[in-house]
């Protein structure tokens, strides 16, 4: 009899099942992939508001007088530029310039940083952090991953929804900043204006006990009712981030893809004196830059390009592979991302995707595919 590894569960697992969500194994976690329907959930986030349980993500705290130096060594972006209450997108790299994981670094103070990491790489990341900077003076590493239930409230109506539940004036929190406030009657909850959907939105971090978690979840759904809020699963999470061309570990970024190929060089501050992977990136630049590039594709003939499908030049030679591909529910097109040699990466270049034996034409497009509309004051 085969041994079955029991899937890990967030505190809201019972709640998702009560909603009759379709559940899926995501990196060893029993997670909701959709509730009422992927397309409806996607559209709710683009036009109103949606709420996601993202508690499976991890949280590493670095604390102590040496914590800034540790973050600087560990992550490619420049954390010394972060004010208390500010966060930024960054990544931890291997010495060869490829990705351990992409992260969001939050500066609580000069002595206290919170690094939010992917669910699928939790243990790997914690080991990596301890190994890379554990010897540095004045820094203590804590894994707080199980400590929080993390909810992402996303969409043009996210602020109005969350504002009903907090006394903190959300209009004072700028994009990628965070604060601590009262939420749903809980004190000292972290409220961050971050997300993975390409829309305005917040992530709140509440205690991970089941009663608190399910109560907050219920109150968010109640507050968002007038805006048509829907609970949203990993299916919509993926189509939303794909439209916004945000990278997913294991797809656009991985331990075989470097920062410059991924088009994320603007987050790698090479003028920092030192960080893991810096030298490799400088070498790649000195050698003329990356030889392949991440591109966007839009299908121009009928067909859906999916993860792993070959990308071909029109003469039939394979030039790459789709990293992520799917119908885009808001844009109503079939889109994909792929790595191809730089000579095929020009906008409007026509290539083909091999879809179950057929060559189906696609056009190289600029990234992102979708940008949220600018708010008029």
């Amino acid at each position: 009899m085969a041994e079955v590894m029991e899937l890990r569960k967030t505190a809201l697992n019972g709640t998702h099942r009560t909603h009759k969500a379709k559940m899926v194994d995501f990196g060893g976690w029993d997670m909701p992939v959709e509730y009422s329907g992927l397309i409806a959930e996607h559209m709710a986030v683009r036009t109103g508001v949606g709420v996601f349980d993202v508690s499976h993500m991890g949280d590493i705290q670095l604390r102590g007088p040496g914590s800034l130096a540790a973050v600087q060594q560990l992550c490619m972006n420049d954390a010394s530029k972060l004010a208390a209450g500010q966060a930024h997108y960054s990544a931890m790299l291997y010495p060869n310039g490829t990705f351990v994981d992409d992260v969001v670094v939050h500066c609580l103070s000069a002595n206290d940083y919170l690094i939010v990491i992917n669910a699928g790489t939790r243990e790997k990341d914690v080991q990596w952090v301890r190994k890379q900077i554990g010897h540095m003076p004045g820094v203590h590493v804590n894994d707080f991953s199980d400590y929080y239930t993390q909810l992402a409230i996303q969409g043009p109506k996210a602020a109005e929804t969350l504002q009903k539940l907090t006394s903190t004036d959300l209009s004072t929190i700028k994009n990628y900043w965070f604060t601590w406030g009262q939420v749903c009657g809980l004190y000292n909850v972290m409220i961050a204006r971050t997300g993975y959907t390409g829309e305005d939105g917040f992530e709140i971090y509440v205690p991970s006990d089941e009663p608190t978690s399910s109560r907050v979840w219920g109150e968010v759904l109640e507050a968002g009712k007038e805006f048509g809020i829907l609970p949203c699963g990993l299916g919509a999470r993926n189509t939303l981030r794909l439209e916004a061309a945000m990278a997913l570990y294991g797809h656009e970024i991985s331990d075989t893809i470097n920062v410059l190929e991924a088009g994320l060089g603007r987050y790698a501050k090479l003028d920092k004196p030192s960080f893991v992977g810096r030298d490799a990136l400088l070498e790649i630049q000195a050698a003329g830059g990356p030889k392949r590039k991440l591109i966007g594709l839009e299908m121009i003939e009928r067909g859906i390009a999916r993860d792993g499908y070959p990308v071909m030049a029109l003469d039939g030679t394979q030039i790459g592979e789709v990293t992520s591909g799917s119908p885009a529910p808001f844009l109503k097109k079939n889109i994909a991302m792929a790595y191809v040699p730089v000579q095929y990466a020009g906008i409007d270049e026509v290539v083909a995707v091999e879809i179950r034996g057929q060559m189906v034409k696609a056009r190289v497009t600029a990234l992102p595919f979708y940008k949220k509309p600018k708010k008029t004051a």
């Binding site: 329907g37 119908p327 529910p329």
Partner: protein
């Protein structure tokens, strides 16, 4: 979910509605529910010769591709062109949204297919409830 008593079914979740020597083929309510929002249907062509148990096209949701298997052998006489621009019709009404119609080469093949009751029993076994 409902499974019309007059249809026959396959374990791959197709139905066939046979009358005389012709049949209309679609996918079951269970299949459309498992797939989620259907966004693409790959249809065969009129005149295609299909073999029982072999694939003739596919149905795609946002997340997945599902092959379609012909319940019987026969020749395609028409395909539901509406599904090119409105594939979601299958989600709204799987039981009346046919995908193709065909003339059967061997009507006795229908006897080997599942009845509605067999199919319902099969699904409860598959899903464990």
């Amino acid at each position: 979910m409902s499974y019309p008593a007059g249809y026959r079914y396959t374990k791959e979740h197709e139905w066939i509605d046979v009358s005389g020597g012709s049949g209309a083929v679609g996918i079951t309510d269970y299949a459309q529910n498992s797939l989620g929002d259907i966004v693409f249907v790959e249809l065969p062509k009129v005149g295609d010769v299909l073999e029982a148990g072999k694939t003739f096209g596919s149905v795609e949701s946002v997340k997945a591709v599902s092959d379609l298997f012909s319940p019987v052998s026969g020749t395609v006489t028409s395909v539901n062109e509406e599904l090119v621009n409105a594939p979601e019709k299958i989600n709204s009404d799987a039981n009346t949204t046919w995908i193709l119609k065909l003339t059967l080469t061997d009507a006795s093949q229908v006897n080997g297919l599942l009845t509605a009751a067999d199919y319902e029993a099969f699904i409860s076994e598959e899903t464990g409830h």
